[in-house]
């Protein structure tokens, strides 16, 4: 092209003093940034191809590489940022919708960072989790209205189906297709080791992974990919996906080039065809329709498995959640607008939805006000970044949280947000065999187990500090939270006091 409108965002800086020309950067970059010059025995880089994924940086044995933001700039303008201008150039060239991956990176408030936790001092004792028992186990599923007893006064134990988790964290839905087989295997094995659940996403379940069934949530989404009786029966719970936080209101699209033999078998679609998930479920236009699907799935699995309904956090989320709680679902999963994705239109990802903190607080309050909070467990997702976020979400009313981006980061993801290119250098969001093998599940699953083991320790420490020895006693315990720098309305929606009050 004679006129180059888009300039490289990053520069690859190589310390020639330290470069030993081992060429690992060249071999490991799927974007072909690095090149070996034979004549001068030197490595050079093409900045314009770099996505800043750090694969070369992480593998360079002499730390000769770093990636820096290009100082190249437009004339300063608060309104017309460089990003806004570049996006117009891109669209003027392509005529297409802008695509992005992973969660919303824009500068909206992160309410988790504006809430602080309490701790005990003097008047109520804190608890040392290293010396005293501390319970992080949770049970998800509908709970009975009241305790019922038989004629001899014994409690009648006929609970609806429950799932037990060793800690209130699960891996949220990422389909086989959007992420690699090795990423899926890592998640499945980690869930089994940790005593928690992972989620198949809407891509079906690979036949090798049925053995992790009791640690699996099987998802039924609008495309119905890979859904059959054995699939539904293999999991511990079934999730109906109505929406996703990163792209509320729209469906999904796995390009045909990613649908190889294994994915085609798992999704039950022909090889090489695009897998398109429609925006709505074509059989669901009301809560009554949703109820039909909930009960169809329960009927198909003998009423032995809890059903989750997952929705994106949108403006009237509390009313929708109330409807879902009345539809017969056992759990509601709410996905905030910072949740990740393998690909979404940029404008949708960056401008649609709600922060999970506000959605969660308003749903919990609404269900309590209506006296139906016991009918459903609430699972909150959409950028839970640390154990502190987990504790704050529980205190806001969640039974459990979903993590996905954090899990991928543990597997090596550097949030370069280029999943939609299919060339993930870390072997996560790709189907290219040479790239997929870069994620060894023997290493990946151990890293996931390490991450959540660490979080569990931290959750216990924070609970102990508050004088709470059971995570169940923290749920909805908003007195343990105080806001900082929040206005009256925000505090009211979150249902918390301001710091100092």
């Amino acid at each position: 092209m004679a006129v180059e409108y888009i300039q490289p965002e990053y520069e690859v800086v190589r310390n020639q003093e330290r470069c030993i020309v081992c060429r690992v950067c060249e071999r490991q970059c799927a974007n072909q940034v690095h090149e070996y010059l034979k004549d001068s025995n030197r490595m050079v880089a093409d900045d314009s191809k770099c996505v800043n994924c750090h694969r070369c940086v992480a593998l360079c044995p002499t730390r000769a590489l770093k990636i820096v933001k290009s100082p190249h700039t437009f004339k300063e303008n608060t309104n017309w940022s460089g990003k806004a201008i570049s996006e117009i150039y891109k669209q003027a060239e392509s005529g297409g919708v802008l695509l992005s991956s992973m969660g919303n990176p824009e500068n909206y408030p992160v309410y988790f960072d504006k809430m602080l936790l309490n701790a005990s001092q003097v008047t109520n004792p804190s608890i040392d989790p290293l010396r005293e028992p501390m319970e992080t186990r949770v049970f998800l599923g509908a709970k009975p209205e009241r305790i019922e007893r038989d004629e001899k006064g014994r409690i009648i134990r006929s609970l609806p189906p429950q799932i037990q988790l060793s800690m209130p964290v699960m891996f949220s839905a990422m389909s086989y297709g959007s992420i690699s087989y090795n990423a899926h295997e890592s998640l499945a094995r980690a869930a089994a080791e940790l005593g928690i659940l992972y989620n198949t996403g809407e891509g079906g379940l690979h036949e090798d992974l049925y053995k992790y069934g009791k640690n699996t949530i099987v998802q039924v989404a609008s495309g119905r990919f890979g859904v059959h009786k054995d699939y539904l029966e293999s999991g511990a719970a079934i999730e109906i996906k109505m929406g996703q936080g990163a792209k509320p209101g729209i469906g999904g699209h796995l390009p045909g080039e990613k649908v190889g033999m294994d994915i085609s078998r798992t999704r039950m679609i022909p090889e090489g065809t695009d897998a398109i998930s429609p925006a709505p479920h074509h059989d669901i236009y009301s809560i009554e329709d949703l109820r039909q699907l909930v009960y169809s799935l329960k009927e198909a699995t003998g009423y032995k498995k809890p059903v989750i309904v997952k929705i994106a956090a949108v403006h009237n989320v509390a009313a929708i959640a109330s409807g879902i709680a009345r539809s017969g679902a056992d759990m509601i999963a709410i996905d905030g607008f910072r949740g990740g994705t393998g690909a979404a239109p940029t404008r949708i990802r960056d401008h649609v939805g709600l922060p999970i903190e506000l959605a969660l607080a308003s749903v919990d309050k609404r269900l309590r006000d209506e006296g139906i909070r016991n009918r459903v467990s609430i699972i909150a997702g959409g950028s839970i970044r640390s154990s502190a976020d987990v504790v704050k979400a529980i205190a806001l009313g969640a039974d459990c949280v979903y993590i996905a981006t954090a899990a991928l980061v543990a597997l090596g993801c550097h949030l370069c947000r280029s999943c939609h290119t299919g060339k993930c250098n870390w072997g996560i969001a790709t189907q290219r065999p040479d790239l997929v093998k870069r994620l060894n599940p023997n290493i990946g699953f151990r890293r996931l187990v390490n991450l959540l083991t660490a979080w569990q320790h931290e959750i216990k420490e924070m609970m102990g500090g508050m004088g709470i020895n059971s995570i169940e006693a923290l749920r909805g315990n908003r007195l343990m939270l105080r806001g900082v720098g929040l206005n009256e309305k925000e505090l009211e929606i979150l249902g918390i006091k301001h710091a100092g009050e």
């Binding site: 003093e17 330290r18 470069c19 030993i20 081992c22 060429r23 690992v24 071999r27 490991q28 593998l59 044995p61 002499t62 730390r63 000769a64 065999p433 040479d434 093998k437 870069r438 060894n440 023997n442 290493i443």
Partner: protein, 144 residues
């Protein structure tokens, strides 16, 4: 006895094992200083063909042909590890010809070199194993 095993399923063909191997024998503390402007001559080599790759180094065979063929006694098997006494090696390269894995090679000064599991330079796990980014090279006890 613990040995180095490779698994081609996880080998990325990144060749880092070769560089960590070469670095291990230099005695330097900084790889950039040790290997700058040097053409490395490692004792482990990555074999590649049509998308398949794996690293090859001495298998420390139960009945080593290299030791059998060594005319000066430079190659000996001590505690399961085949080691070379560089002072005794005369560079006849019989061992290189007889090794079925191609795991013995000439060094810069004419004596032969081969993987000695880093026992002469480092304690513990051999450096190629520590340097493999994908667990394709492991140091394990699998019996004879």
């Amino acid at each position: 006895m613990k040995r180095v095993y490779v698994n081609e399923k996880w080998c990325l063909g990144c060749h880092l094992c070769e560089y960590y191997c070469a670095f291990a024998s230099t005695g330097e503390t900084d790889m950039a200083r040790a290997l700058k402007d040097i053409r490395i001559n490692p004792r482990i080599r990555v074999e590649e063909c049509e998308g398949i790759s794996f690293a090859v180094s001495c298998r420390h065979c139960p009945e080593p042909l290299c030791v059998k063929g060594c005319i000066t006694g430079a190659l000996r098997k001590i505690d399961g590890i085949i080691t070379v006494d560089r002072n005794r090696c005369i560079g006849c390269y019989t061992c290189i010809l007889s090794c079925p894995y191609g795991a013995v090679s000439p060094s810069e000064d004419g004596a032969i070199q081969k993987c000695e599991l880093c026992i002469k330079t480092h304690e513990g796990t051999p450096r190629c194993v520590l340097g493999c980014p994908n667990g394709a090279i492991v140091f394990e006890e699998r019996g004879e």
